[in-house]
Symmetry: C2
Subunit: 373 residues, 2 copies
């Protein structure tokens, strides 16, 4: 039985504002149209059918996922043209094979000869071909072949020249845009540089007779604060923008009012001797993200209560102090509700097996994410 | 279809060594017998039926839980004498009421007059009475009435004197035993002091005509390195000891060989230009716990590979570097498996919807935890 109002939910509870979700999705679609690029939204933040419908504008086509479990979930629910945006590994090959056989389009990504060998050892049904993206590193330094390396050209050429597989193009995640305090100009600069690197590699490949159908980059900061140069690309694949979060607001990707999700929690204890209040949301309700940043405002934002700071969490409890002065206990009686904008919505959403969807204070639905790998 | 061997699991995967689990459970039971105290194991670390059977020695009686979802899960599976070890709050009262009516014994815990008022407003079926623990703070400084406060005496007396409710006794979580680097003597000292505080309060209550049937304390460090004074208590309620973890080994609660769980992961990328390897385990497979401690060894321990350090995680990826010298890529080919002892097993287990149970390398079962609130 669904609670009627967000003030009636059992806490902690992950809340999603449907109007902000729709607005965030619409703006990203419009931005992609304006830039003349295809939007391939990433599902990793919410992992729900309903969120995917909003992000694809109802087409159920062209999405990126971070796990095989997500790919399977979306395939089973009528989605197609799915990119498994994770370095291909041998232990997942049977499940990838099944998806490639079933779907109209299923793309895998790799950054190594080992990944390619593993794909080559896995045959598909007659009429089916593997579709492969090359993962490129344009300065983030995590996975992917370095954009200016010989290995990038060698691997792309090898994929392209091998019979029975299709070289789809270049994929990069410009995670280096997540630089706290660097500001919007820095983010646009990362977008520009990433684009230059990708176009440079694509040009080199063209000279080798290898053409890239798709050249894409993601990251919510980069796609929210897109540099003009990024119009040279063919695809954006951000994910977090559907919810945004406190971190994105600090980066400048969004305003606080654009954050579509929060965790509802209640005051459950007054600890006057320690000058804190205790809420029923610990790291299982919020995750531990945001603490490492040591922000003066704390690791998350209390909606409408800018003087509150979360100073610590244990499994099911959070300690809250006043940023300035003493805490006003009468303002936060036991049982009163608070709403936390999480530092990183991908991490916080992942702690919840159900999201309550609201319009104003009214609860209008539930979304159930897929989990696991 | 269950994989036969731990080397065949899809990664990341949470593995539990059944023999170590049983050994850890047996040792804690024996310690409690030796101390003459009742063991009321806490379920919050694993949240499974199978783990609860091992911890209770098959009795299905006397457990502590951290959420109403856990209480409901265990009640539905034939467990009884359940303590909901979390400050009672009004929004959970209907669900608590149902459990109190159904179970032979269901105990709630509170630390405020507001909590008590909320209970008093919720009546039980004829013949049923609320059973209430007073949560006491003996120096941890999170929740609970301060052990030496007038409020502790007032609240306990009020509970005891109210018709239709039973005052069960005192509960404290001595989380102040988690002091990295302080060593076993410090932990025993916390255990001694906690016991002194609890006994002092119990004596004061006795002088007021209030008797405590139960006086208990938990925390895995304290119960693993129990001070002799703790024999004065009637109950221990640790939870983490069933798995232990890297943090507990650093605290001295256990040896590394006592850690019963690990996360299986695979090398999926070689990033030679950055001198790291990448594994398919990020914060969704491991949690972010342990990073804040800035340990030279990193936030978790690679089983059998003491020169590896996890330097960072994103959602599904972990970057691993050598602690000394350069990483030996030939030793860690793409596809090779690594096993991570988590920093905090409660947090890591919570990221997984299934645990694979193994005996040696052989997989012998799966445990499915309950989740949510």
């Amino acid at each position: 039985m669904l609670p009627e109002n967000i003030k009636e939910v059992s806490t902690p509870c992950f809340l999603v504002d449907i109007h902000i979700v729709k607005k965030n999705a619409r703006r990203m679609r419009e931005r992609c149209q304006q830039f003349g690029v295809q939007l391939r939204p990433h599902m990793k933040t919410h992992k729900t059918i309903e969120g995917a419908l909003v992000m694809t504008g109802g087409t159920k086509r062209k999405i990126a996922v971070s796990t095989i479990a997500e790919a399977r979930f979306y395939a089973d629910n009528g989605f197609d043209d799915i990119l498994y945006a994770f370095p291909f590994s041998a232990d997942k090959k049977e499940r990838c094979q099944k998806l490639a056989n079933e779907l109209g389009q299923f793309h895998v990504m790799l950054d190594s000869m080992e990944g390619l060998s593993s794909i080559l050892s896995t045959s598909l049904e007659p009429g089916k071909e593997w579709s492969i993206f090359l993962e490129v590193d344009c300065g983030y330094g995590r996975t992917g072949v370095d954009w200016d390396s010989d290995a990038a050209v060698e691997l792309a050429t090898k994929i392209d020249k091998t019979n029975g597989i299709q070289f789809q193009g270049l994929y990069t995640h410009c995670g280096n845009s997540y630089e706290m305090g660097a500001g919007p100009d820095f983010i646009r600069e990362v977008g520009s540089k990433t684009t230059e690197c990708l176009m440079d590699l694509a040009k080199k490949l063209k000279n080798c007779g290898v053409s890239c159908k798709t050249i894409g980059t993601g990251s919510t900061p980069n796609c929210s604060l897109a540099s003009e140069k990024m119009a040279a690309l063919t695809e954006f694949h951000p994910g977090n923008y559907i919810f945004y979060d406190y971190m994105q607001s600090l980066l400048g990707s969004c305003k606080v009012d654009d954050i579509a999700c929060c965790v509802a929690t209640r005051v459950i204890s007054h600890k006057v001797s320690q000058q804190h209040i205790v809420i029923d949301c610990g790291f299982l309700g919020l995750s531990k993200q945001g603490f490492a940043e040591n922000l003066a405002s704390g690791p998350c934002l209390f909606k409408g209560h800018s003087n509150l700071r979360l100073v610590g969490v244990t499994q099911e409890l959070g300690k809250v102090k006043a940023i300035e002065g003493e805490i006003n206990y009468s303002k936060y009686p036991i049982g009163s509700m608070l709403f936390l904008y999480p530092f990183h919505s991908c991490a916080t959403a992942a702690m919840h097996s159900v999201y309550y969807i609201h319009s104003g204070e009214k609860i209008v639905g539930v979304w159930k994410p897929t989990r696991g790998w």
